[in-house]
Amino acid sequence: MTQAENPQGTEQAPLIEARGICKYFGAVTALEDVYLKLYRGEVLGVVGDNGAGKSTLMKILAGLYPPSAGQLLVEGQPVHFSSPRDARDRGIEMVYQDLALAGNMRIDENIFLGREWLRRFGPFKLVNNAESLRRAKEHLDKLRIEVKSVKQRVEELSGGQRQAVAIARATAFDARVIIMDEPTAALAVKEVRKVLDLIKDLKHHGIGVILISHRLDDIFYVCDRVMALFHGRNFAEAPLAETSRNEVIGWIMGNKSPAAQAAKIFDLN
């Protein structure tokens, strides 16, 4: 907590930093001159209306899209990601909104997809299922995620369990930054709390988390700081303690002054 509450005070470089990021899709401007910083053990909430550019920004941080302009830095070092693999190699993992799990495969296979445990077999390297199952079990235990068996296929799991598997995959190898895009959107109420508590656990392990959510309950439950995007630009930002729900709702709608905000809410009602 102390690290997160006083990150600027300690002159340590942010885990990840975006400077002046722009992204154009043809004639459409998705992001214009966007800045973002995330420190160790910090949970940053990113809010904004649909089309504000949240998901695009996250996909750039995760290496899925290259930025049209601007610079990414990891722990102060300029980086260039040409694929999600590059970002993962730098310890940046993303949990996608649609989860991006292979339902036809086992839990452990999903956790280690693309980074399988192997065993030498003469001149060949074959998949080591025993090691994969054991490591997956160990890792889920560490995160206190309960499943009947790691041999289950992911399609047999509930929404919350799938989300947990997606998070387990993101944290399986020394992740330093985990980006989560609407991790609670598809979950039953009782599962939401588990996922949010999992995020708190990650934070206590010193991992930086960026959380995109439409649910202000989530933001106000786990985040240390919240930033709003509006029409693809930085709009407002504040430590959670210095803002309020109403103010954040205003940011999402593009209002900064409390008076205008109240008027807007009044209009809506």
Binding site: S83, P84, A100, A102, G103, N104, M105, E109, L113
Partner: protein, 338 residues
């Protein structure tokens, strides 16, 4: 509500039994169908069916379909399809036969058809991934026509007969083991199926093929090179089509440009009857083998019982629909009991 009636207990027990059986039916169900067919064959033609003379014909008759089906299976696992394998078979076969006639060194005639098949597969894979043609149906439909046309051009549209001993050996040869003659085609199929089993179950690339069929997006964001893996799948499928061309050439001691017409559909049928999902990511090598056997045994039994060839086609159609229908029912039962 607190007390359960004995009836309810029994059905609950039955249901749980059914749930426990599902994984086994899932894995081995089609093998029971194969066993049932062997039984039917033995009962309807007791003097002929189980004789070595009849059974030793099966590998030769079905080797080409077995080889095509295992290649097709890899492609179907990625949620793809390859319609060109029958034509590629003919192109590989004709090129081999014509070059053999022109005095090409016989030993080079063995890798040649496989290389031709791989080239066709590479073309399909690159068409899908680099030209970004919307569905493999399109590019392989194009290749189906291109390869068939080329196969005819190579030979001027006429059959070529009389091939070197090496080629005949691959398609029709026998290796004596003890007192019995093991068909070479049987050994080829056995080695291939074992190889593909290890490849798909125990190598990273094999697992990635399943993952791509399950969710290509998941594979991509996990750092898997999806395009490269897809190209490999089509190259493997093409290689199998070329090998099948070699086997048919050897078996018939000739090359004929109409070879393999409709063979892609037999291969797809075997894969689907064997329990693979048409939508990718599901199925096993053992299932494909069973699917090939079901089609082969069906033809064999119907032939022995003097059933008209047209009825055979009708029955194979019925079996395809039944096999997939049973699969649908099984999934429905499975999901209600979760």
């Amino acid at each position: 509500m607190a007390t359960t009636t004995p009836d309810a207990q029994i059905t609950a027990r039955e249901r749980s039994l059914r749930v426990r059986l599902i994984p086994y039916v899932d894995r081995f169900g089609i093998l029971f169908v194969v066993l049932a067919m062997i039984l039917i064959g033995a009962l309807t033609q007791p003097e002929v069916f189980l004789t070595w003379r009849n059974l030793s014909n099966l590998p030769g008759q079905n080797a080409a379909n077995a080889v095509l089906a295992i290649g097709m299976f890899v492609v179907i696992l990625t949620a793809g399809i390859d319609l060109s394998v029958g034509s590629v078979l003919a192109l590989a076969m004709m090129t081999t036969a014509v070059l053999a006639r022109e005095g090409f060194p016989p030993l080079l005639l063995i890798p040649l058809p496989i290389l031709i098949g791989m080239a066709a597969g590479l073309f399909n894979g690159l068409g899908l991934t680099k030209l970004r043609l919307p569905h493999p149906f399109i590019v392989t439909l194009g290749t189906l026509n291109i390869a068939r046309g080329l196969g005819n051009l190579v030979s001027g549209g006429v059959p070529v007969s009389g091939l070197p001993e090496v080629v005949r050996f691959w398609g029709a040869g026998n290796i004596p083991i003890g007192s019995i003659q093991i068909p070479v085609s049987l050994i080829i199929v056995a080695v291939l199926y074992l190889g593909f089993f290890v490849f798909l179950q125990y190598t990273r690339t094999g697992r990635h093929i399943y993952a791509i069929g399950g969710n290509p997006q998941a594979a991509r964001v996990s750092g898997i090179n999806v395009d490269r893996t897809l190209v490999l799948a089509y190259v493997l499928c093409g290689a199998m089509a070329g090998l099948a061309g070699l086997l048919v050439a050897g078996r018939t001691n000739s090359g004929f440009p109409n070879a393999g017409i409709g063979a892609e559909l037999d291969a797809i049928s075997a894969v689907i009857i064997g329990g693979a999902s048409f939508f990718g990511g599901r199925g096993s090598v053992l299932g494909v083998l069973a699917g090939v056997l079901v089609i082969g045994l069906l033809r064999n039994i119907l032939n022995l019982n003097d059933v008209q060839v047209f009825w055979q086609q009708v029955l194979i159609g019925v079996v395809i629909i039944l096999a997939v229908f049973l699969d649908v029912i099984r999934r429905r039962v499975g999901s209600t009991n979760e």
